[in-house]
Symmetry: C2
Subunit: 148 residues, 2 copies
Amino acid sequence: MPGQLKWRHRFQAHVSRWTVPREVILDLLSRTSKHMSVKEIYASLYKMYPGIGLTTVYRTLDLLVRAGFINRFPSGDGQNRYEFKSNKKKEHHHHLVCIKCRKIIDYSDFVDEELELVKKTEEILAKKHSFNVLGHNIEFYGLCEKCK
Amino acid sequence: MPGQLKWRHRFQAHVSRWTVPREVILDLLSRTSKHMSVKEIYASLYKMYPGIGLTTVYRTLDLLVRAGFINRFPSGDGQNRYEFKSNKKKEHHHHLVCIKCRKIIDYSDFVDEELELVKKTEEILAKKHSFNVLGHNIEFYGLCEKCK
DNA sequence: ATATATGCAAAGGATTTGCACGGTT
DNA sequence: AACCGTGCAAATCCTTTGCATATAT
């Protein structure tokens, strides 16, 4: 008998049942700005909700990705990572990835023209390749302060 | 007794031994513009060089990535893909990825300002986050002509 | 009451590791 | 000859699937 969380209504517009695992996973991700792996998510939930199954975490994350609540991206070390997709445009960000320690820095202080250019590029690509652009993934990689 | 291929000299500046597997793998990747998975590379080599081991393919690809001959990137379906890194600047490209059929379209017909902006962004990020930017990964995702 | 979600255990797939043998230098 | 690279088999790690049970509607 899951509680009444803020996501419930929006969630049920997409899928049928509002359950405890779905609630706690969505809640966890919405409260952190980290890019969490499945293992990390599972470990974190286990504390407050032992008995949760790893399988459920995987399945719920898939669900949330498909429903558009979170983003999934491969982190380069063979695992996927997940981040809450904010509805505030302000929180849209790109990544800066350290190839050595694998730290990921978000940045959203875009160069003025950056977003405008992305938009323009998307339009041109859409026409040229008859492609329906749904999003983008922009990351710069290199060495962070500590590793260089 | 490996042959004398064009890569040999450049290769030996980085690592020690020039062997048959290293030659054929590098040669294969340099001749295709595809983004090949390990499985595909292995299958392709197996025809002309049966007896090659899957392990060797993995190890050689690692080596080539570290030596800067090829790029590795996760393809979203749990596998990594590899592409030859051309030294011609003209062949630098970004990706357009179909989320349904997983087709990857390269595009290098950048919007005029695209590369300039990327460069500018890299400089700013470098300063702001004390980050040594070594490269970038820019991809747009969505639905290709057939899948939409 | 009924359909859906869960948790466990087992399966699946990609990648890595240990080790004896073989090839380059 | 010495050392590094290779290939095989087994091990590992992440993710998915089958199935009986529990739960939301």
